[in-house]
Subunit: 118 residues, 2 copies
């Protein structure tokens, strides 16, 4: 697992991009999808995911539909047009950001013994 600070700020990007590939998904499905696709390296917690989904819905980027599965109710999320635009923007931004960061860290070579260490 990655230290949690790193994942911060990428949750919306992850959710929107997954919903761009899949017509509709529900919360639990999203957590499993991410876990599987990252070999367990990114595990979304419910306490972070659900509030985020609610916020994206409130912002008009997602719509919901409830579907009964037996006695349980599943809540599916689907992108709006605006949500799709945001998905494009967010994913592109992350890719640019990750390049910028890697450039910035590029001159860095792990060195266990720097001469000037105190």
């Amino acid at each position: 697992m990655y230290s949690p600070e790193l994942i911060k700020g990428t949750l919306q990007t992850i959710v929107l991009s997954l919903l761009s590939e899949n017509e509709r998904m529900y919360g639990y499905e999203i957590t499993q999808h991410v876990k599987d696709r990252t070999q367990g390296e990114i595990q979304l917690t419910e306490g972070a995911l659900y509030p985020t989904l609610h916020k994206l819905e409130a912002d008009g980027l997602l719509t919901t539909e409830k579907v009964s599965i037996g006695k349980r109710v599943r809540k599916y999320y689907r992108l709006t047009e605006n949500g799709n635009k945001q998905a494009n923007d967010k994913v592109n931004e992350f890719r640019r950001f990750s390049e910028t960061m890697n450039d910035l860290l590029n001159s860095f070579t792990p060195n266990p013994e720097l001469s000037w260490l105190s």
Copy 2:
């Protein structure tokens, strides 16, 4: 500029990696260095940077020395041994994370018109 959430959690990584390349640096120098090297795409704010430097020092990852420049006092930061280890760890972690994320977003192709949009 990137949306601030994205940069969250990378500040320590940035600071530690820069101090791994440069024997010692002071706060303002770090902000300028990052700004220059990222073409202004990442601009550290003082309100974020200085508390972080103080925390890293409190955690024993950095040491400080004050140097008088005329009437002003400049505070230089330098890695400790532990700080250097953390620098290695943090940079490696970010690189892995950025790969994981890019894999996760990989199947994503920007598409302005998904058939199922609501």
